[in-house]
């Protein structure tokens, strides 16, 4: 039993370790994904691009200024188409800057909102672009001066914008660093949890194993003691037969001799004593016999002699054997076997013993004028034998001990003779014969025993504990049988 428990423990522990590792694996994977998302999030942050983009935007502005200044310099040729191309490239750069700005994540609680920061630059640039377009189409001095001023304003605003984005970038970098450190700490925590959990489980398994080993050692010792006790008991019981029977036979014999020496008148005076001694001796002999019989049955030392027997005949024999006892106890036996001849394959001696015992109990535990009903009923391949009495019955709280040996169910100090082994012997025999014996309380007082026997003997049940040793005192000895069904197992 403990070995199985140990295996279960091991299985549970291994399953738990696997579960923890799977859990840890998923936890670590989740952490890794979060870290990856943070890093990817960082990679799509275009703060760096925007800073550089703003710088290049200012460079583009300077190029436009250089080309524009050719207008005011009499020594350099002013080419409007070249200025237009630079203006177009500047616009293209502005558009890229604008698009990237819109995609940059905002940090609301810090007041860092790139689109808002870009808004003023956007407004100033649009004015500049319009002025540039007008100037390229109609160059004039007023426009030239105005454009130079606009270029300075836009360049300054681009610097402010660049500073804001730089601040944003620094904040995001700090935030990402904190996130990565947090994830790293979670990694550490998860690994520590897994490590400690595994150690705990290993400890539990080790402890369980240690305890189980101790239990097993105790169990083995107990089994050894049990075997020794059983051996001692067997030796005692086998010697008891001789040691008890010899003095009892001597007592009985010498009482007979003493009676023979007495005159008829003297005999009349001691007749009561002689009967009492005789009865006591017989009871003691019966008790020894029953104990020995039970021991023999329990150890399976007695072989079965199987034969086909008529159930009605067996019941009649049992009733007949109990007739004398019924008369003595003033109990009436009623039989009801109104079915056709039904043969079952069983050991007739043991079977009769069971029926006789059940009837005997019905008689013994009854009152004057009581009744015992013995009936049988065939159902398919089985016969149901019912032994019912209207005697004193069995208290409900003692039914559980009904089939235990030496259990007299409250009659230990009563006037009814017996060793308390009868029903135990019946139960043992029934088990060996492949039958079932059940008890049902009788509603109006008394007991009902129901015995169910199959038509064919279940060889598989008997195979393991039978010995091929025929009884020498039975009529169904294997050597004398002509019936081809007879077999000894």
């Amino acid at each position: 039993m403990y070995t199985i428990s140990f295996r279960q423990w091991s299985t549970y522990s291994i399953a738990a370790i696997i579960f923890i590792f799977i859990l840890a694996f998923f936890f670590v994977m989740k952490m890794e994904n979060r870290l990856k998302e943070s890093i990817e999030g960082f990679s799509i942050v275009h703060a760096d691009s925007l800073i550089w983009g703003a710088q290049q935007f200012r460079n583009d502005l300077n190029r436009v200024r250089t080309l524009l200044q050719a207008y005011g310099d009499p020594f350099i040729e002013f080419d409007p188409s070249e200025l237009q191309e630079s203006a177009d490239i500047l616009y293209s750069q502005f558009e890229t800057l604008n698009f990237t700005t819109q995609r940059l994540e905002s940090i609301e609680d810090q007041g860092l909102t790139p689109p808002i920061a870009f808004e003023k630059l956007s407004q100033l640039f649009n004015v500049l672009d319009q002025h540039l377009t007008i100037f390229i189409q109609h160059p004039n001095n007023q426009g030239y001066v105005s454009l130079l001023s606009n270029l300075d304003t836009v360049s300054d605003e681009a610097s402010v914008y660049s500073a804001k984005i730089l601040h944003l970038k620094q904040f995001q970098t700090t935030s990402l660093r904190a996130q990565i450190l947090s994830h790293a700490n979670n990694y550490k925590l998860s690994l520590i949890v897994v490590f400690v959990g595994t150690l705990l489980l290993i400890g539990v398994v080790w402890h369980a194993n240690w305890r189980i080993n101790i239990f097993n050692a105790h169990l083995e010792q107990a089994v050894l003691h049990g075997e020794e006790a059983a051996q001692t008991k067997a030796q005692f019981l086998s010697s008891m037969s001789h040691e008890f029977r010899t003095p009892l036979n001597a007592i009985s014999g010498y009482i007979q001799l003493i009676l023979m020496c007495l005159t008829p008148e003297q005999r009349k005076n001691v007749t009561g004593y002689e009967k009492a001694i005789d009865t006591s001796v017989n009871n003691l002999v019966d008790l020894v016999d029953q104990i020995l019989e039970l021991e023999t049955l329990l150890h399976g030392n007695e072989s079965l002699i199987l034969d086909k027997v008529d159930i009605r005949l067996m019941i009649s024999n049992a009733v007949m054997l109990s007739g004398r006892q019924a008369i003595t106890h003033h109990v009436n036996i009623h039989t009801n076997n109104n079915h056709q001849s039904f043969e079952i394959e069983t050991d007739s001696g043991m079977f009769t013993q069971v029926i006789t015992c059940l009837i005997s109990n019905g008689i013994k535990f009854n009152h004057d004028g009581g009744d015992v009903w013995v009936s049988s009923k065939v159902e398919g391949d089985q016969v149901i034998i019912r032994v019912e009495d209207n005697g004193i019955g069995i208290p409900a709280e003692k039914i559980q001990k009904l089939f235990q040996p030496f259990e007299r169910l409250g009659h230990e100090a009563g006037a009814i003779n017996g060793s308390g082994t009868g029903l135990s012997v019946c139960q043992t025999i029934c088990t060996r014969l492949g039958m079932t014996l059940d008890y049902v309380p009788r509603k109006s007082g008394g007991s009902i025993f129901i015995l169910k026997a199959q038509k064919n003997f279940s060889q598989t049940q008997e195979k393991s504990n039978s010995i091929n040793k025929p009884k020498t005192q039975t009529n169904h000895h294997i050597g004398t049988q002509t019936n081809h069904h007879t077999q000894a197992i």
Binding site: D48, S49, W52, S86, D88, I89, S92, T96, F99
Partner: protein, 161 residues
Amino acid sequence: MLLRELKLYIPAFVVLLAPQIGYAKDIIFIEGLSQRTAEKPIKMSIEEFEALAPASQIKTTTPWHRQSTFSGISGKDLVKHLGIKGTTINALAINDYQVTIPVSDLTELGVLFATRLNGKRLKLRNKGPVFVIYPFDQNPSLKTEVYYGRSIWQVKQLTIQ
């Protein structure tokens, strides 16, 4: 990280380094190892460039656009109609930014030499006249700095090597 991000802006940034802009608008030069340019470089207007092959389309987002429909000459068609024999194409932008694009990108990755954005001709102000576009949405593995860097705009010259 900074250098990689820089690639996105190099096409526009390098304009300062360009010694002279002297070029004609909406004209593209093609030269190098192809059947049509074997003897001498060819110069074609953007209309002639568009007439090289039936128009192809890509609907995608880019780091510089929301989801838009780009149309122009597919890389496969360009290889076919020019009879490209080289393995790489050097693309030069108006601001003298240049990148090297493997011909295998044209034949296998579905590169588009876009001349139109949502049906309208790309101008210099919106990164025309030719914009090299990769199908980023159709193939997310292209969303890397390598392919962002190869997505050159304001292309004025292709040199097949």
